[in-house]
């Protein structure tokens, strides 16, 4: 059985202090975007949504009147309906080079950021406070998913004192009252955006955005149906790297729909040919909370050493369900508002970051069951305390109801100095050995 031996994980050079007082978007253009564009032809399509998002970042610099800061769990459709650009400061941490992220975390700590802020939030604190990001015309924030994220709202308010903020109080329940509670706030949100941007909401544009959004959900629903096949026809890298990021940032855009159509066609082709992702599938794994972003070689290692394929990522893939049979071209504002509230309540990490703990546990069970997982991995982003509270219960439920084990381990999705890819792999190795032995019905 192959294992850690001989596998080269990514290494970093932290010996030089990077200049963080640079234009981060330019850094992203010159590094990550370039790397995505230089990917070999057969896999380049995978990176298209990320490039689309980077294009939006560039658009923000040229059109400051269109910049709306959006909290990452806030459904982006609202911003696109207002013909604005959705700028998620934290999203920069996902796409900037890791060395910059670490330098920015250090800078944030030097300026007083508490040690308990994670890389995701901490990596943009200094750029926000030192005014290195495009100035927002409006700021959409909310009260989830963690205390530090809420505290970041205060940082935004203090850093942009002339920009009034809109803060969404996310509902606790998933019933109709919860939907209406959200919808009424979003109604106020549109009024806020109209006031802040000086633009009136164009109902036809809202309809088109919601139609795009519904189509995106319809496509991901179909794609997810293919993902249930054994072997899973969709490469891990697509599942983890792009699909979730695309839904975080681009729902409501035509670009996402076009990409998902390509994605669906690829999944269908692979399914019909009976082929899996890039490597032979032996184990199916669901990532039950977060997943490390700083080094994708850890997934290559899992696939090479154990044939362990990621078939789903619980907390960032949208809570998929077939969209309603609705003629969006004629839908009223009230109908669209309700749809938007539903999308918002189920938005990636929004759904997982609010409400009763059993929603998280039940969703974990549902994903593992439907995607025929052999194991779950709860890679707990160390600052997602609310979700950590569900770790043991989720582990017990998965064993009790599905008979599958779940590994619980600490990570910072972005900062390898907290737990490196190699450390993660050494934690996963005995677990995957155990799952392999169980599946093969043999002792190691």
């Amino acid at each position: 059985m192959p294992n850690l031996k001989g596998f080269q994980f990514k290494t970093y050079d932290f010996s030089k202090r990077l200049d963080t007082k640079v234009d981060l978007i330019e850094v992203i253009n010159n590094t990550v975007a370039k790397a995505f564009r230089n990917q070999p032809e057969p896999v380049r399509w995978i990176f298209e949504p990320l490039l689309q998002y980077i294009d939006e970042l560039n658009y923000c610099r040229e059109h400051p009147d269109k910049v709306v800061y959006r909290h990452f769990t806030f459904a982006p459709e609202m911003v696109y309906a207002m013909d604005c650009v959705s700028f998620v400061p934290e999203a920069l941490t996902f796409i900037m080079p890791t060395e910059y992220l670490c330098a920015l975390v250090d800078e944030g700590r030097e300026m007083g950021m508490p040690d308990h802020w994670c890389g995701f939030l901490g990596g943009v604190l200094a750029p926000i406070m030192y005014g290195r990001l495009p100035q927002p015309k409006a700021i959409l924030h909310c009260n989830q998913p963690c205390d530090n994220s809420v505290a970041q709202g205060t940082v935004l308010a203090e850093s942009y004192p002339d920009t009034e903020m809109f803060i969404l109080d996310n509902p606790y329940t998933d019933d109709e009252a919860g939907v209406q509670f959200c919808a009424e706030q979003l109604r106020e949100g549109f009024k806020y955006l109209e006031r802040m941007t000086g633009q009136k909401l164009d109902l036809d544009r809202f309809r088109q955005v919601m139609k795009n959004s519904a189509r995106a959900y319809e496509l991901i629903y179909q794609i997810n149906e293919y993902k249930k096949a054994v072997p899973c026809p969709i490469p891990t890298s697509v599942i983890l790297r792009t699909t979730s990021g695309a839904f975080y940032g681009l729902t409501g855009t035509g670009g996402l729909v076009q990409w998902l159509e390509k994605h669906l066609a690829d999944a269908k082709m692979r399914y019909e040919k009976g082929i899996g992702g890039f490597r032979q599938e032996k184990l199916r794994v669901v990532w039950n909370l977060s997943w490390p972003v700083f080094d994708y070689s850890v997934y290559d290692w899992m696939e090479e050493a154990f044939g362990a394929i990621a078939v789903a990522y619980h907390s960032a893939e949208p809570f998929y369900q077939p969209p309603p049979d609705l003629d969006y071209s004629k839908a009223s504002f009230e109908v669209l508002l309700r749809e938007l509230a539903l999308r918002n309540n189920n938005h990636a990490m929004g759904r997982q970051g609010r409400g009763h703990m059993m929603t998280f546990v039940d969703d974990s069970l549902k994903w593992c069951r439907e995607f025929k997982a052999d194991a779950g991995i709860f890679a707990g982003h160390w600052q997602c305390q609310a979700n950590w509270a569900a770790a043991q219960l989720t582990k017990e439920k998965l064993m009790e109801e599905l008979g599958i084990p779940m590994l619980v381990m600490v990570v910072d999705q972005l900062d390898p100095r907290v737990v490196s890819a190699e450390q993660m792999a050494s934690r996963m190795e005995p677990f995957l050995e155990m799952v392999t032995a169980k599946k093969e019905g043999s002792v190691q």
């Binding site: 294992n3 031996k5 619980v408 381990m409 600490v410 050995e433 190691q444």
Partner: protein, 265 residues
């Protein structure tokens, strides 16, 4: 008769076991050197010498432990959890739960009931020295006492002083304070053993505790920790039929024999 070996390179010690398919031919334990490869070569050489063979006579070698990838000549590496489970089941087929407290990590392993050594579930500590042998080592240095005497000192205590800090660094300061207050040394040591037991008991709570419960790893030899752990868990912790320190290396040797047998026509 083919000879196989398992080599367990831990943070504190390197262990090697030579096995012929029926019995342990030889075993050796040495303190870990700075370089895992050096530890592996030395400990394997020592075990081979005891068995009267040369390292070149080893037909299959499996590396385990944190330094497993650095074991020269290992045909395969396997995690220490899998190896400890196999080793413990070889010693005692009725082992249902194995608590392995090593130098830098602690694991609780639930084993399949039929005695095959298959791992059903496990939990382990996260990035923290509390609840490991390293914690005890740090404290032993404070007392300038050999760690081997720690367990006995704890057993002689009339009561157990509470060490409230979970962090090794803070606990060390707390212990220094207690010494400064002229508290009974044995009672402080009992408190230290209890602090380790408390951390390990938390790990036990994350798996299904089934009897019989055994301990492996270097800390298994510490009667103070064992007694405090029994008290916290409310179960008897049995001693393995063989040396608990080499359970991982033994498991690696058993896996090596399986692998060799698979290779044979």
């Amino acid at each position: 008769m083919a000879i196989v070996a398992g080599c367990d390179i831990g943070s504190v010690s390197g262990k090697a076991v030579l096995f012929d398919g029926q019995r342990i031919l030889a075993s050796a334990v040495i303190p870990s050197r700075p370089l895992p490869a050096v530890t592996a070569e030395e400990v394997l050489g020592l075990a081979a010498g005891q068995a009267g063979v040369s390292p070149g006579d080893i037909a299959y070698l499996v590396g385990t432990g944190y330094g497993r990838v650095k074991v020269p000549g290992a045909q395969k590496t396997v995690s220490e959890i899998t190896c400890h489970a196999r080793g413990a089941a070889f010693y005692n087929r009725d082992a249902a739960t194995l608590i392995d407290v090593g130098g830098q990590d602690s694991k609780v392993i639930s084993l399949s009931p039929e005695g095959s050594g298959q791992v059903l579930e496990f939990s382990m500590n996260d990035k923290c020295a509390a609840g490991t042998g390293r914690f005890l080592e740090v404290m032993a240095k404070v007392f300038e006492m050999p760690i081997e005497r720690f367990g006995g000192a704890a057993l002689r205590a009339r009561r157990c002083l509470a060490i409230s800090s979970q962090c090794t660094v803070f606990a060390e300061s707390e212990v220094v304070c207690l010494i400064g207050q002229e508290k009974d040394m044995n009672e402080i040591i009992a408190g230290i053993c209890d602090a380790v037991a408390a951390r390990v008991a938390t790990l036990v709570g994350r798996v299904t505790l089934r009897e019989k419960v055994y301990m492996s790893g270097g800390v298994a030899k510490n009667q103070g920790v064992r007694q405090r752990l029994e008290s916290r868990l409310g179960v008897k912790i049995w001693e393995l039929a063989g040396d608990p320190l080499i359970a991982g290396a033994l498991g690696a040797a058993l896996i090596a024999m399986d692998a060799l047998n698979k290779q044979r026509p």
